[in-house]
Subunit: 316 residues, 2 copies
């Protein structure tokens, strides 16, 4: 039996992790071996990020598709994706922790005016700036899955006031949960900091736009801030740039972009109050991914069960 | 009866807070009224930060001295400080929360290489950097009072591994506590990030020096980092600068300095991996201070009891 690996995290593709975790499987590293036409007849499992279109459909004996990340939109971009195969997302406690590290860091940077202090530092300028306390700030989390709930819990410990918004109704202790399009405006009206952790779907595409920005509170302890570590396709960068230029937005933190890498000419790079990171908020660790896949395969082979299945009709 | 206020936080001296909280007391704003020789005979309480030397000794009917901050070294700098008067420190949940916001922010900035990402951003350079996860990082907290314990709890929620060191033996769940000079080197040897929240005393003066830096781990997931939000007198800045230049230290975050404001000519301002803030980690809010003092006075007048008394023989 074989497992096919098609993950293109070049800088992170530490070899050996899958071989160590699955010593009895043949591991085919597609990016390296594809030119040699490896025999794919034995492939029952595939671990993919952005699969080469049609590759998965060509695997006659494929049983399970594993996404190398929590997001699966990249998998569904394959127009030939076999619709009858289960797709498992990578839900990794490490990945969730890393995402929350980044989200908490960004919320604190805006709360504590870190970029303004940075600017003063490099001018050798000693000046205290206004700084509300976390409990004066309402953070609105868009997306209340594993990632959103973990970030919410950690931000709450630091004193932030948390509200959440999600597609389906959630009941989470200590968090006011808003649901669906009907409650979206109410949610936005009390979100000093919006944290977007949404998957990319037809309904979330371009959701972070001028219309949303206009609904954020004007009477908060800080000017509204947008933080996006979900998907770049959820944001309309031209609207965000305009809102930064006009001063409607107090700041943004963006880890994802409409096109990645972010174009060298994007105006986003140059705002002091726009914190730009290169899609690193929650990077999958290959050893953790290998452990996860091995555990799932072992369980699947003994019981036929899989965790964290994607609803292929919803696409996330 | 009167209360004398001698607090010089110029930018924060919001008037009216003490008058609102203590409507029956005469409030004497020393910095404003001193030239008019106000009558001090009725003063029973004084709220001070860096009291004018001899001022407290001149108050014939003084009963209680309140420090306007958690630190009291500024109070004890008065050579004529009346030794028989109780000194109460300002322990404010807001102040503790603010301090933890700053400490968590700084730990995350070093963990996530924020300053390197900042540098890349302004060069329009998209590059993923190595980033260990918080659970690989051992944070050693020097000083396990209110502030240290709160920071420890919050860092732990984010995944950091926490050790603590204090003068007296502490027993805190989930934290390995080291105590006194005998256990100091062991503590330093497992502290990838040292967070100093110590008061300034004869024993802590200059404690953050080349000797301490040499004892920090060389095999950690990141190069050692020093974070100081205690007192500037605890650090030897010339040693810190040398360790930044040589690369022994991976970074520092300093909110306090040997001399404040930090001299314009200090080399500390210009290191990309030195985060400098102008003694703002935990700024007392005057309304919160006024509420605190009013509550204490009310309790003192009814029961003779005071909370958060300073041990005047130890000086903290």
């Amino acid at each position: 039996m074989a497992l096919l690996l098609d993950i293109n995290f070049d800088e992170h593709n530490k070899f050996g992790a899958f071989e160590r975790e699955l010593p009895d499987e043949t591991i085919i590293h597609w990016q390296i071996e594809k030119d040699n036409n490896p025999d794919l007849a034995a492939v029952r499992y595939a671990v993919v990020w952005k699969p080469q279109p049609g590759l998965l459909a060509s695997l006659a004996n494929l049983e399970v598709i594993f996404s190398a990340g929590a997001g699966v939109d990249h998998v569904f971009e394959d127009p030939l994706l076999p619709k009858d195969k289960p797709v498992v997302r990578f839900v990794d406690p490490d990945l969730t922790s890393r995402m929350s590290e980044w989200v908490v860091l960004q919320c604190l940077m805006h709360l504590r005016q870190q970029r303004n202090y940075d600017k003063n530092q490099f001018k050798h300028h000693w000046q205290e700036l206004d700084q509300p306390i976390a409990s004066e700030i309402r953070v609105g989390i868009m997306g209340l899955g594993e990632l959103g709930q973990d970030a919410a819990k950690k931000l709450q410990v630091l004193g932030f006031r948390i509200n959440g918004w999600s597609r389906s109704r959630k009941d989470i202790s200590n968090i006011d949960c808003y649901c669906g399009p009907d409650e979206f405006d109410d949610f936005l009206g009390i979100s000093d900091i919006v944290v977007c952790l949404l998957p990319l779907t037809n309904k979330t595409k371009g959701i972070l736009n001028a219309g949303l920005i206009a609904k954020l509170p004007k009477d908060g302890a800080i000017k509204p801030v947008i933080i996006n570590a979900g998907r770049g396709g959820s944001q309309v960068e031209v609207d965000i740039v305009k809102a930064l230029q006009s001063g409607i937005l107090g700041g943004v933190s963006l880890d994802v972009f409409e096109n990645e890498p972010l174009e060298k000419t994007s105006p986003l790079w140059d705002f002091n109050n726009a914190i730009i990171t290169p899609h690193v908020a929650a990077v999958s660790s290959i050893p953790a991914l290998a452990r996860y896949v091995a555990t799932q395969i072992s369980r699947y082979e003994s019981s036929g069960k899989l965790d964290n299945l994607v609803d292929t009709t919803r696409g996330y």
